[in-house]
Symmetry: C2
DNA sequence: ATCAATTGCGTAATGCTATAACGTGTGCGA
DNA sequence: TCGCACACGTTATAGCATTACGCAATTGAT
């Protein structure tokens, strides 16, 4: 999928995520955009829905937060599965991809005749800088 | 870790999850236990915290729900990473483990000096029975 | 036996996350 | 011009999780 022009709200939300150093919750995004005229959660969620659809933002299920994709130019949907390492100290998120992991998971799913649609791979712990 | 005796509340919650055919949310569990005297969410969450700690229950982050572990006798913490395939039609969850996936993820994390503490691997889609 | 620490429990209140249900305006093709 | 699709704004509500308080039972050291 090629990313269409973003609307005003979508751009505002995307910019906030791009400039953030850690994942943000929808309500945190809302607070950061109040000066830009945002008043209600739905404004954020609607923008996020589109950004997720375009593949330029990822949702981190385990912490109910959102991050800009680490590969802004490529189409993230084409990378296969996406995985995240989330530091619980500094909040930093490292996005990565491993074809072998993809392959093994897909093989298992196929053996079960399970049709995958969305995947979540998130590892929480402490990054190199924060680990004692 | 060896699982200690469960308290009354823990047993009630565990039984509900064991008998369920699909993951349950904390509030659904609460509703099922009102006849047993449960009145507040905290009663459920406190029991769930212990059951998660003992490794006899898993939390599905992507759907804010809980399931009994598929390996009631073994210690689930010793399996390495746990993965779930979640059917969005029938709600059924298949728990599985793949050492190769573990190995690849752990190798990547080690290369980044990232210390993993908790992991979430969840695939949502449609199971063999539900897929058209 | 007593005291302190720990653990589980009950209740009320609150906070965080996400969606439903309205209605408005704008652009665009039939 | 009509109808449709889409983005937007607002209010209200639903769903998930925790904080804060106090009480009761257990354990274990003194």
């Amino acid at each position: 999928m090629t990313t269409p022009m973003l609307t005003k709200n979508q751009s505002l939300v995307f910019d906030v995520l791009t400039k953030a150093e850690a994942p943000l919750s929808a309500y945190t995004i809302l607070d950061k955009l109040r000066d830009q005229g945002f008043r209600a959660p739905l404004q954020v969620y609607r923008a996020l829905d589109k950004l997720l659809e375009y593949g330029v933002v990822h949702r981190l299920e385990s912490i109910n937060s959102f991050v800009a994709c680490a590969h802004p130019n490529e189409d993230c949907h084409s990378h296969g599965l996406v995985a995240f390492a989330i530091c619980e100290s500094c909040g930093q998120v490292i996005e990565f991809h491993d074809h072998e992991v993809d392959h093994r998971l897909m093989a298992w799913l196929k053996s079960q005749k399970f049709k995958a649609e969305k995947s979540t791979i998130e590892i929480r712990g402490h990054c190199g800088n924060c680990a004692a």
